[in-house]
Amino acid sequence: MSLKERQPKSKQPESIQQESSLPERVGSLTANSGALMHTEIMSLNVGPQHPSTHGVLRLVVDMDGEFVIKVTPHMGYLHTGFEKTFEHRTYQQGVTYAPRTDYLHSFGHELAWVLGVEKLMQADVPERATTVRVILHELGRISSHLVFLGTALMDLGAITLFFYCFREKEAVQDLFEEVCGYRMNQGYFRVGGLSRDIPDDWAGHVQTFCDTFDKHVDEYASMFATNPIFLDRATGVGVITAEAAIDLGLTGPNLRASGVPLDHRKATPYCDYDSYEFNVPTSQKGDSHARFLLRLEELRESAKIIRQALKRLKPGPVKDPNRKISLPPRPELESSMEAVIHHFKLVTEGFHPPLGEVYVPVETARGEVGYYIISDGGSMPYRVKIRAPSFVNLQALEYACVGGQFADLITVLATIDPVLGDVDR
C-alpha cells in the first residue's frame, strides 16, 4: 500500500472509533512502517525567545522521530563585550560590571573580581567586611538556587513550587535592597572592603530569615521530591558520568552531582571559608534528579554558613585603612588636605596596581568563577578574562541530551542551570 492510498483510510473517523480494529491497524503500521513511511531527520528550532531556555539561547535540535540525535546551541545574543569594557574602566568601576554577568548570583562574580584585584593590590580586608561578604555570597547562592528550583520544576510542569520559591527569593532580595539599595546587580563590594557598613538591624533580619529557612526547604522537598511524575521525568535523564564531567570541564553543582567533590570553598578557601563548618553535598548518580536534590541540599548548607557568620559579626571597620585604595571618610575631607588629595586621585584616576597577572577562583552557584586580571601598572586593567562557568557547563548539553527524547532536553537544560548573561558576557 502506498502512502497515497493509506492516508484517506486512516482519516476515516469510524476506523479510529472502532476499538476492535485499532490494535490491528497499529500493528500493521509498525510492522511495515519502514517500507511505508518516508522518514527524515528533522531540525527543530528552540528559542531564542523560548521560556524554557532561561534567557536568550537558541538551540537547533536534530530529531530522528522523538529522539534527539544532535543539539547545536547558538549563543551570543547577550554578548556585550564586558571583557573589552573592563579594559577601559578603573578597577573600582569594574565592580559595576562584574555582577551583570551572572545576574542571578551576582555577588559571586562581584566577589571574584574584588578578590582578584585585592590579590594584585595586596589589600588588607577587615574581618567584618569579609564576614559580610560571606553572608551576602551565601544569600546570593540561596537566591540563585531558588530561581533554579522554581523555574526548572516549572519546565517540568510543576508550577506551584515556583511561587513558593519566589516568596523566599523576594525576602532575600529585600535583604539585598536593605543593605545596598539594589535588588539585583548590587555592586556593593569594593576593592579593600565594602562600599558602606551594613544597617544596624540588618543582621537581625538575616537571622530571622535563616531561622525559618530550613523549614521552607523541607516544604519545597515535600512538594516535589516524592512526586512520581517528577521522579519519572528526572531519574536517569541526562546522565553525566564523572569522567565525562571532567572531560567537559564542568564545575559547581553539575560536577558534584556526577561524584567529583570539588568545591572551591573547601579546595582553595577564600574569605576564611576554611573556618566555617559545612558539608559539600555530592552524588554518584550524575542524572537530573541528582542535580535537583543536590542544589536543595546546598540551600541548607548555605543557611548553615550564614548562621555561623552572623555569630562572628563584630563591630569594626569595613574598608582597608590604606588611603591609596579606599576613599577617606567624609568628615576627614573638611580638616585634612591629604584626605582631599587622596579622594581626588582615587575618584578621578583610581589606584595603580603593580604589574602582574592574577587569578582567584570563587565557587558561585554555577561553578568556578575567576577573573584572570592582567595589570600593566595603569589605573585600568590591561586585559580581563572572565572564567564563566555557564559557558563551559553548556557544553554538557550536547553530550547529555543525545539519545533522549525532546522533553528530556528541556529537563537537562534546566538542571544544567546556565545563566545566559554568564554564557555571553
Binding site: 554578548h79 567537559l248 579546595a267 555530592t282 534528579h289 600593566d376 563551559v392
Partner: protein, 220 residues
C-alpha cells in the same frame, strides 16, 4: 515502582587538602617533569612551545587534570616587551588534589595552534571563543565558528587595535547606520535616520504638523 521514592542521603566531600603544604609543592616538580620552564609570576605558569603543546596537554590529561579555561591575550600595547604579540593561556586544574597550572603559548599573528579538543572536550567552546575574539586559528578543531559576536561583525574585538570609538554600523542587508546622525535624529535637532521623532517635530516638507489634542468630553 522501583525508582527512588525518597531523598537519597548525600555523602560529604573530603576535607580540604589545601592545608597540607606537601600537596602544594608538586606543581614545581610537575613543571620540571614536563620539561617546561616556570615563569616568574603570581600564578604557577609554564611556557610551552607550540610543537610540544599537544603532548604536554595529553600528559596532564592522563595525570587527571581538567581544562577550565583558555585565555587569549594580545600583548601588543603592553608596557614591557614580550616574546610575541599573542599569547594563549590554558588554565588546567586537578579536581582531586587541587593543583592549578597555567600553560602559556607565545605566538605571532597568523600562527595557528593545534586544537586540544582531542585531549579535553571542554576545549570546544573555549577555543571557539579565542578564535572569535582574537582571531587565533586552531587547526583540527571540529567546529571552528564564531561563538559570541554576530556573524556579520568583521574583526576580532579583543585585539588591541580594534576600534572602540563610535563606528558606523553596516548591516548585512546593506543598511547603514551612522551613530552621529542617528542620535541627532533622536534629539529632534535634525531629521537624521530615525525618520520618526525628528521629522514630526520639525514638520519638514508638509508644513508644521499640529500636535493631537484631546477631544471635548474626554477620551471615548
Amino acid at each position: 515502582m522501583d525508582k527512588v521514592s525518597k531523598i537519597e542521603t548525600y555523602t560529604t566531600g573530603p576535607a580540604s587538602v589545601q592545608t597540607d603544604p606537601a600537596r602544594l609543592d608538586p606543581i614545581d616538580a610537575l613543571i620540571a617533569t614536563l620539561g617546561l620552564s616556570a615563569e616568574d609570576a603570581a600564578e604557577p605558569t609554564a611556557v610551552v612551545g607550540i610543537d610540544k603543546l599537544e603532548s604536554v596537554a595529553l600528559r596532564l590529561r592522563q595525570a587527571g587534570f581538567m581544562l577550565l579555561d583558555v585565555v587569549g591575550i594580545d600583548y601588543s600595547a603592553y608596557v614591557q616587551p614580550r616574546p610575541e604579540r599573542l599569547s594563549v593561556l590554558y588554565n588546567v586544574y586537578h579536581p582531586y588534589d587541587h593543583r592549578r597550572l597555567f600553560l602559556r603559548v607565545w605566538l605571532a599573528m597568523g600562527t595557528a595552534l593545534p586544537s586540544l579538543y582531542g585531549v579535553w572536550k571542554s576545549a570546544n567552546y573555549l577555543e571557539r571563543e579565542v578564535y572569535d575574539l582574537l582571531g587565533v586559528v586552531f587547526t583540527d578543531h571540529p567546529d571552528l565558528r564564531k561563538i559570541l559576536t554576530p556573524d556579520d561583525l568583521e574583526g576580532h574585538p579583543l585585539l588591541k587595535d580594534f576600534p572602540i570609538d563610535e563606528t558606523p554600523t553596516l548591516f548585512r542587508d546593506g543598511r547603514f547606520l551612522d551613530p552621529a546622525a542617528f542620535r541627532a535624529g533622536m534629539t529632534g535637532q535634525a531629521t537624521g535616520l530615525s525618520g520618526w521623532r525628528g521629522s514630526l517635530r520639525r514638520g519638514e516638507g508638509k508644513g508644521d504638523i499640529e500636535p493631537p489634542v484631546m477631544p471635548a468630553g474626554g477620551p471615548k
